[in-house]
């Protein structure tokens, strides 16, 4: 035996600490990593070795598709060598296990290193199931599981036009999203008659199919693929059993997972008939010194393919190792997610399989919303739910289901659109045992405990309990609970803008106006401390502009501005700027268009039409901006304030002047309004739209201020938004004449500018305004606060004191000094490099910069 030991390499660390119990974990996926984290947190004295078969340590597989929207492997990482080292964990990557000697309790890896163990944990995960279709082994037939898979998919997509995903489950649709993001014409082929058959009922599946198809992904259900052979138009042709076929350049299999149980089979641990390492409630396998957790484990004949149950197993195994309470008792498989922007939720018994189950459904076909609520025979408890198109009820329904909360008399109210009498499940309705975060198993009691232990902000509680750091689906609920608990303890939730001022934006606005404060230094001296920061400085600069309307690059204001305001352009990712002159109402003469073209050509700028009916010129270096604007200003252009939190554009349709249907001159109105409000600095950007008739071609109801022509005048809409969280504008007043229209807009905008939070769009401001639309109407139309004269006078001052910031800047030698890359050299920034794409420039990627053999700065980490 001694001779044998001499011949092989023995891991030193394991020998040096003989007295400690040794735990070896095979596999470092999300669950394996969670196990290590939990074991470290338990403070138990173990020597921990992690053997990862992959080349890298644990990373987040849940957000894998974000790799296609720009996330890198480093962004997805859950840990790194440094962290493991700090924890005293011996982490070995590329350590493929070849032998488990259960008698001597020793694991051997393929390079011959041996690792003795007292307890062994198998967290080997799963591998993608590839259906046995002839032709499935060809090039460009791939799976979707690891970062390496994504790299292959990315490479294959670059040489493909059409891609097919085999499998219409959760993962399949994620994969389809990845292909769509990669720019491919995407198809999903599913064997079952519907999408997401596990989580959704037939109605939900069919609505999801409609929605996904509307997004440009074609769904083919009830298709069994017989063979993948050479195609005629594309690389491959998939032949289906019903005689039809589909041509594609690549195939991505995402038809479910199979447990990675090879080690268990080889070394004779009990495995299930259809795979999976059999475990008990403590996650022990048939060998009491070996545990199995995550997707490789089979509990009660079931494999759990989600991360939350895997985490629960990891916790149960740690509890067993440290002689603490806690067993694995199955797991909730409810999910809420956004698939290509479509909201989908599934809770518990979504199919209503429980005997005696009763079902309520709500279907709003025009809006594409479907909700199904499954309750028990006695209508006392929620058993399950399906939500498509609107998952706003998910958190509440999940709380009812998980915590057996008694249903109200009319359970259907839980899924009906808000009629005012929907029973609200406030934070106080939940018991201490109620689960708030199911990813990390955090109960309301845990949160209360953290608060009593001294945590007093949402951030503290997140880092201390880990709540809401998994899928993030519980974040709104968590905030509710935290706010309610803090309030109970008399903690005032701070609304201070930042650490330098103990005031809200609205308070600062009043202080500046009432005390006639004109500079940041004066404001800081009277009401703040320190030097300020990137939050309070631009906020103060914006208030100074709203109240006094000075030139924003006045010397005292200059250091306050965000870089976009300082350089009067929008900074792009490579440090260059974009140039957007104002084109009021979207009306532009051919001569001005030609001038834009000439300037773009002379400076080789990338040119794109914006959604706000103007032209954006990209790629201007900071030192080129003054010369570019000199030419534009000379040709009659003004700054478009695209860089500022201020009025951006007034979009218009062509109106009654040309259009057969128009009833008012929408272009003329748009130009007048744009010229009145241009230069108004506000808490956030403001967009207008003016439509010449009810056909609404200018999409005015999606704007902060929307105006729609009627036979008798103008209808005014307020506080709409497109973008991240669309909101239809509210109808504010009807059939207004020109003067009243302007009067109302003056008042609404000035009231918003005075009272909104920093970076709060009008839509969110309205949502948070106590009293809502009716209150705003009473202030603006009925002058209930008696401030309308002031509001109008202030707006008139803004309009009268307007100056084109670019015109002022190019006339000021002092201001121009800032537009230099280097104060001691005329060189340009060598890191700004372009390549040509579709006949225009675009920024070179870092790989392209290396290819060009240019000197670029080294990445400092």
């Amino acid at each position: 035996m001694g001779f044998f030991l001499l011949k092989i390499k023995v891991n030193e660390m394991t020998l040096s600490s003989q007295q400690q119990q040794r735990i070896v974990i095979i596999g470092n996926g999300m669950v394996g990593h969670h196990f290590v984290e939990q074991l470290i947190n338990s403070k138990a004295d173990y020597h921990i070795t992690v053997l990862s078969g992959e080349g890298r340590l644990a990373y987040d597989r849940v957000y894998l598709s974000s790799y296609f929207t720009g996330k890198t492997a480093a962004d997805l990482a859950l840990t790194d060598e440094k962290t493991y080292k700090q924890w005293g964990v011996n982490a070995v990557t590329g350590a493929w296990v070849t032998d488990i000697d259960r008698t001597h309790q020793v694991v051997t890896t393929k390079d011959g290193t041996v690792y003795p163990y007292d307890k062994l944990v198998l967290a080997t995960g799963s591998y993608p199931f590839v259906p046995p279709i002839p032709g499935n082994e060809q090039e460009h037939c791939l799976v979707y599981r690891t970062i390496e898979d994504l790299e292959s998919i990315s490479a294959s997509a670059a040489q493909s036009k059409i891609g097919v995903v085999v499998g219409g489950g959760l993962l399949g649709l994620e994969a389809a999203n990845a292909l769509k993001s990669a720019g491919l014409e995407t198809h999903v082929v599913e064997f079952a008659p519907q999408l997401m058959a596990v989580q959704l009922d037939a109605m939900g599946g069919s609505l999801l199919k409609d929605k996904i198809e509307a997004l440009g992904v074609q769904v083919h259900t009830q298709k069994a693929t017989e063979i993948i052979e050479a195609g005629e138009q594309c690389r491959y042709r998939m032949k289906f059993s019903d005689g039809s076929h589909l041509e594609t350049d690549m195939v991505l299999f995402s038809a479910g997972i199979r447990p990675s149980d090879q080690l268990a089979r080889e070394f004779e641990l009990a495995v299930g008939e259809r795979g999976g390492i059999v475990i008990d409630n403590q996650c022990k396998t048939s060998d009491p010194n070996i545990y199995a957790i995550g997707e490789c484990a089979l509990w009660e004949k079931r494999i759990y393919g989600l991360v939350a149950p895997g985490y629960a197993m990891a916790r149960a195994a740690v509890a067993s190792l440290t002689n603490n309470e806690g067993e694995f008792a199955g797991a909730d498989m409810s999910t809420k997610l956004k698939l290509m922007g479509v909201e989908v939720g599934s809770i518990g018994d979504a199919h209503g399989n429980t005997s005696g189950a009763l079902v309520y459904t709500y279907h709003d076909q025009p809006a594409g919303v479907y909700k199904k609520l499954v309750v028990d025979e006695a209508k006392a408890q929620v058993l399950g739910a399906v939500l498509i198109g609107d998952t706003s009820d998910y958190d509440t329904l999940l709380q009812y289901a998980l915590n057996n909360i008694a249903l109200p008399d009319a359970p259907e109210a839980l899924i009906l659109p808000s009629s005012g009498d929907k029973p609200l499940l406030g934070a106080d309705a939940l018991g201490d045992s109620a689960t708030i975060c199911s990813c990390h198993n955090v109960s309301k009691g845990d949160i209360v405990e953290a608060i009593e232990g001294g945590s007093c902000s949402l951030g503290d509680i997140k880092s201390c309990t880990k709540a809401s750091t998994g899928c993030g689906g519980c974040s709104a609920l968590l905030k509710n609970v935290v706010d309610a608990e803090l309030e109970k303890r008399g903690v005032e939730v701070s609304k201070a803008i930042c650490e330098h001022f103990n005031h809200t934006r609205q308070e600062l606005y009043h202080l500046i106006q009432v005390e006639n404060i004109e500079t940041f230094d004066a404001l800081l001296e009277k009401h703040g401390k320190g030097l300020g920061c990137e939050i309070c400085k631009p906020a103060a600069a914006s208030i100074f502009a709203s109240v006094w309307n000075d030139y924003i690059l006045r010397q005292a204001h200059q250091p306050l501005q965000d870089t976009n305001d300082t350089y009067l352009g929008n900074m792009q990712k490579d440090g260059t700027y974009s140039v957007v002159p104002r084109v009021a109402g979207g009306e532009i003469t051919p001569d001005k268009l030609i001038l834009l073209g000439e300037v773009a050509k002379e400076y080789n700028l990338y040119t794109k039409i914006t959604g706000g009916q103007r032209v954006d010129l990209f790629g201007a270096r900071v030192e080129q901006l003054p010369a570019i604007w000199q030419k534009l200003v000379a040709g009659g252009f003004e700054t478009g304030h695209a860089y500022a939190k201020s009025l951006r554009t007034v979009k218009s349709c062509v109106g009654s002047t040309w259009c057969r249907f128009g009833v008012q001159d929408s272009v003329g109105q748009a130009i007048d309004l744009e010229n009145r409000y241009k230069g108004l600095r506000a808490p956030h950007k403001i967009k207008f739209g003016v439509s010449g008739c009810t056909r609404e071609c200018a999409e005015a109801q999606g704007k902060d201020i929307g105006i729609i022509a009627t036979e008798n005048g103008w209808n005014l809409y307020v506080c709409g938004n497109g973008g991240m969280k669309p909101r239809h504008a509210d109808l504010f007043a009807t059939d207004l004449d020109d003067a009243t229209l302007v009067k109302y807009i003056d008042r609404v905008l000035m009231f918003y500018t005075k009272t909104a939070d920093r970076l709060q769009r009008t839509s969110v401001w309205m949502e948070n305004l106590e009293g809502g639309l009716d209150y705003l109407k009473s202030v603006v139309i009925d002058d209930s606060l008696g401030i309308c004269d002031d509001l109008e006078a202030q707006m008139q001052h803004i309009t009268d004191s307007y100056q084109c910031e670019w015109k002022t800047t190019i006339e000021s030698p002092e201001a121009l000094k800032r537009f230099r890359q280097f104060v001691n050299s005329d060189e340009t920034d060598s890191n700004i490099q372009f390549v040509t794409e579709r006949d225009q420039i675009r920024p070179a990627t870092s790989a392209e910069k290396y290819v060009g053999q240019q000197a670029i700065p080294v990445d400092i980490i």
Partner: protein, 118 residues
């Protein structure tokens, strides 16, 4: 003659103090390196700082265009791209322990600004 050369600090004259902007940054090019220079006035004192102009997270030469301020007692610049804060005295990133940028000693004599290199 194999004695180790002593490491000497070289002070490089880079610009006039008029080129600087109080409580803001400018950029100088020194031996091919871009250095962001800041003049900070706080509580009556004037301090000068130099750090690398390269934003290692945003991957662009932009730090001189960030807003300066104080955060938890440190004088910092916020990256204009993604708003991480770098301590001007040390180059340490406050949001990411594993990220820091080169910092440089700066000295002003008779209205000229000098940056130290080794």
């Amino acid at each position: 003659m194999q004695a180790q050369a002593e490491v000497l600090t070289t002070w490089n004259d880079v610009c006039h103090t008029d080129d600087l902007v109080t409580n803001s940054g400018v950029c100088v090019l020194l031996e091919g390196k871009q250095i962001a220079l800041f003049k900070i006035q706080i509580e009556g004192n004037t301090q000068y700082f130099g750090v690398s102009n390269w934003d290692p997270i945003g991957q662009a030469n932009v730090l001189y265009r960030g807003i300066v301020g104080t955060l938890q007692g440190n004088i910092v610049v916020a990256s204009p791209l993604y708003k991480e804060h770098y301590v001007l005295a040390t180059g340490q990133c406050l949001e990411r322990d594993d990220v820091s940028i080169q910092s440089y000693e700066v000295r002003v004599e008779q209205n000229r600004v000098f940056i130290a290199t080794l």
